[in-house]
């Protein structure tokens, strides 16, 4: 990094040291965790609201409509109004449901996404926790979210919900494999699973360029598989509003529905940030090998801008998928994963290992 003002390490460290100086270690830790929790909560609210707005605008654009345009300039306050409406709605109480599981399910979904976002680096030093097994940790905790979906579908005691949950379970279990394997391809190239190191290694070029063909294949597979894992169109048969009303969250209302809704958008954000971090360099500016001048100019642009720009680009790609492809049938969906993506992925890892051994990557 050429500019120290974009490095948040000293900033976060000074807060940490000050807290430990003022307070006993136990309370300093608690205060730190509270601050980080609040930051993430606020981030969730803002990003969630923005993504819902973006989705509606992108959808409108794809369908040659205007989209939300009444509340505020260009309708930017529409989602805030919708959110207030959701908060004030009645929580519908279902008589013959399993109440405990019915109430737990939205929390499991949202907690899984909270656990995943903790490992994502936003800029140098802006990183809640930097595990040495970062990528694997994210794969591990995102697989917990499906439990919430399954529980929600079953405990609602509704046929549509149950079918939706069933489909979602089959889908997520299958596509998890492809997500994991496509990330493994990049782990082979990087030789590390730590997010900060993965980003640092891309200072001389993003992995999608460094690993050329296999990295590009892995990127495409990751995009497809992660779109499926987040239950988004064209893989949204878990909700399939035209056939299953709304799938697993049919019976939820008010804030509990908002939890599922928020978790869906935040999962999309997390998946997009992983794609941006692992394939497109995360917060690392666009650098080309030894072009000193060019790299220096690129370093002027702050890392947060790079990070959010790349993530927004991938989110836009995923929205583009959703509004242009027709929904798959369940058998097509499983065929796509088990007969196409998985074999391609396995061969791709072998090719990547071979390229790394021969030193053909940049």
């Amino acid at each position: 990094m050429a500019f120290n003002i974009y490095d948040f390490t000293s900033f976060t460290q000074s807060i940490d040291e000050a807290l430990y100086e003022w307070l006993p270690p136990f309370w300093a830790l608690i205060v730190e965790m509270t601050i980080i929790g609040l930051v993430f909560l606020i981030g969730y609210a803002i990003i969630g609201l923005f993504l819902v707005y973006a989705e509606r605008k992108v959808c409108a654009f794809m369908q040659n409509r205007v989209g939300p345009n009444r509340v505020g300039p260009y309708g930017i306050f529409q989602t805030i109004a919708d959110f207030i409406k959701l908060l004030m709605k009645e929580l519908v109480y279902i008589k013959n449901s399993d109440k405990l599981l019915f109430n737990i399910a939205p929390f499991i979904v949202i907690i899984a996404s909270f656990m995943a976002i903790a490992a994502i680096p936003f800029a140098k030093g802006l990183h809640a926790i930097d595990f040495d097994i970062g990528i694997m940790y994210v794969i591990a905790v995102t697989s917990l979210g499906v439990v919430g979906v399954l529980l929600a579908g079953w405990s609602s005691n509704n046929k549509y919900s149950l079918i939706g949950a069933m489909r979602s379970g089959a889908q997520i279990i299958s596509y998890e494999l492809s997500v994991g394997l496509s990330l493994l391809t990049i782990i082979v190239l990087a030789g590390t699973m730590q997010f900060s190191e993965v980003v640092e290694l891309q200072s001389s070029g993003w992995f999608i360029f460094k690993g050329h063909i296999p990295a590009c294949i892995a990127f495409v597979i990751f995009l497809i598989a992660s779109t499926a894992e987040t239950n988004r169109g064209p893989f949204d048969l878990a909700e399939a509003e035209s056939e299953l009303t709304a799938g697993f969250h049919t019976e939820y209302s008010g804030i509990k529905f908002a939890f599922f809704f928020l978790a869906e958008y935040m999962n999309m954000f997390i998946v997009a940030s992983i794609a941006a971090t692992v394939f497109l360099g995360g917060w690392m500016p666009f650098h080309i090998g030894s072009w000193e001048g060019f790299n220096y100019v690129m370093d002027f642009i702050p890392p947060l801008f790079w990070y959010f720009g790349k993530t927004a680009f991938i989110i836009w790609l995923m929205m583009w998928f959703k509004w242009t492809f027709p929904r798959l049938r369940i058998d097509q969906l499983l065929n796509l994963e088990w007969k196409y993506l998985l074999p391609i992925n396995l061969v791709n890892i072998l090719i990547m290992a071979f390229i790394v051994l021969m030193g053909w990557h940049f």
């Binding site: 399993d98 599981l101 097994i133 591990a140 499906v146 529980l151 079953w154 089959a170």
Partner: protein, 169 residues
Amino acid sequence: MTSNQFMFLLFSAVIVIFSILTVTSRRILRAATFLLFVLVSTAGLYFLLKYNYLAAIQLTLYAGGIVVLIIFSILLTSHISEKLPTAGLLKKWPAALVALVGAALCIVVILQYNFPGSVVDTEVVNVRDIGNSLISYGEKGYALPFEVISVLLLAALIGAIVLAKKRKD
């Protein structure tokens, strides 16, 4: 009390409470959910020991894999109104006795052992080392067990396919 001790007590309490709830719950899906909490807390204990790799494996395999499979099979086979019958006295008493004897035995053995205080700091286990020992056959190499387990897994996969295949006759 340090934060580590606090988290250890928290995780242990969750594990103990939800383990008991898992075996006493009469609704099978609730039992599976409680089992999920137990497994996730176990992963938390591994994180506390800084054995991140094992913790992530615990989360992927047990919480994300096995519990999801259990829940999935419950979804396919049982209805929400089903409640497991409570066991009769004839089953309850021997089971309680065996559990108590087992617990007593464990506690006595653990209490008798004089644990030396930990003098070494916990160190992060490098994933590269784990990978290397899995495929090396020298000292600290686990190539043979690794391969044996792979063969076992392959046999299980083939067995599942054979069982699930439709018979022609």
